[in-house]
């Protein structure tokens, strides 16, 4: 008599690990984050080394502008995440609109930052004023360029979705998740700049 083999073994389903978006985009994101880690660390070092100079510099920034920009980028990230959720449901039109909304949040960020820079320059502050202003202008402008690139990526992907240029679910997923990951990276970096420049006195 042979032992009875179970016909069906039920095991808990564990999702297979899956990278959101393209592998190349993730290497690009990690390279960008390495540069930003260096800048954020240097800024913290300057703040720790010359606390009076840094605090005096922070006091000249517009705290409400920093707050509104943070809320704007968080909202943009939320809209882009909604776009990715729409892509998973197969609703291409919604992807287009959520990604455009994400890019619009970036535009609002650019307008606020430009006004802030203009006020700073009018008050006579430049990269040469002292080490605080060098780091402030250099790091925030470097971040701003990433916001612009993020907007371009979102708009290009939204346009390709609108024109139906992604012809398979896999390519749609790859494109939407890659664009969204880059945009969230830009948001993540700003969340680390925010306490150094606009929260800690």
């Amino acid at each position: 008599m042979t032992a009875i083999e179970p016909l069906l073994v039920i095991r808990p389903i564990k999702p297979t690990p899956e990278l959101p978006g393209d592998l190349a985009m993730w290497f690009f994101i990690l390279a960008e984050l390495a540069v930003f880690a260096l800048l954020l660390g240097s800024m913290a070092f300057v703040r720790g080394s010359w606390p009076e100079m840094f605090s005096a510099g922070v006091a000249t920034l517009h705290p409400i502008a920093g707050l509104i920009n943070t809320l704007t980028l968080l909202t943009g990230s939320y809209w882009v995440a909604l776009g990715v959720a729409a892509m998973r449901r197969g609703q291409a039109t919604q992807v287009v609109w959520w990604f455009r909304a994400g890019a619009a949040s970036g535009l609002l960020y650019l307008i606020i930052k430009t006004v802030e820079y203009q006020q700073m320059f009018s008050a006579g502050y430049t990269l040469r004023t002292n080490t605080f202003y060098f780091f402030y202008f250099f790091t925030t402008f470097f971040h701003l360029m990433h916001v612009v690139l993020g907007m371009v990526i979102l708009l290009v992907v939204a346009t390709r979705f609108r024109k139906g240029l992604y012809n398979s679910p896999a390519t749609r997923q790859m494109a939407a998740e890659s664009a969204a990951s880059y945009w969230h990276m830009v948001d993540l970096v700003w969340l680390m700049l925010f306490p150094l420049l606009y929260v800690l006195p």
Binding site: P17, P20, G41, A44, L82
Partner: protein
């Protein structure tokens, strides 16, 4: 999923407002300023990991990439904590 994203977004906004409010209170003669630093960095850590896990969708990503992202967050915040709390001069 949409409800989860909306709830997370509202929590992230609330944590941002809380951090900003804490940094703009005039009560630091009453409390050590070091407490503010730790509170603000803790809020930044929670917000950063939240973005990584939910918005970026790294919760289901391969372990190496998850470690890279969370490790980046940890290194940046640790550098801030170290440089802002040690007397460097």
């Amino acid at each position: 999923m949409t409800h989860k994203l909306t709830l997370s977004w509202l929590c992230l906004l609330a944590l941002t407002l809380l951090g900003w409010w804490l940094g703009h209170q005039p009560f630091y003669p009453l409390f050590p300023q070091q407490w503010l630093l730790w509170a603000v960095l803790l809020l930044s850590a929670v917000k950063g990991q939240w973005i990584i896990n939910l918005f970026m969708g790294m919760k289901n990503a391969p372990m190496g990439f998850r470690l890279a992202m969370s490790g980046w967050l940890l290194i940046v915040l640790a550098a801030m904590a170290l440089f802002l709390s040690l007397p460097l001069r």
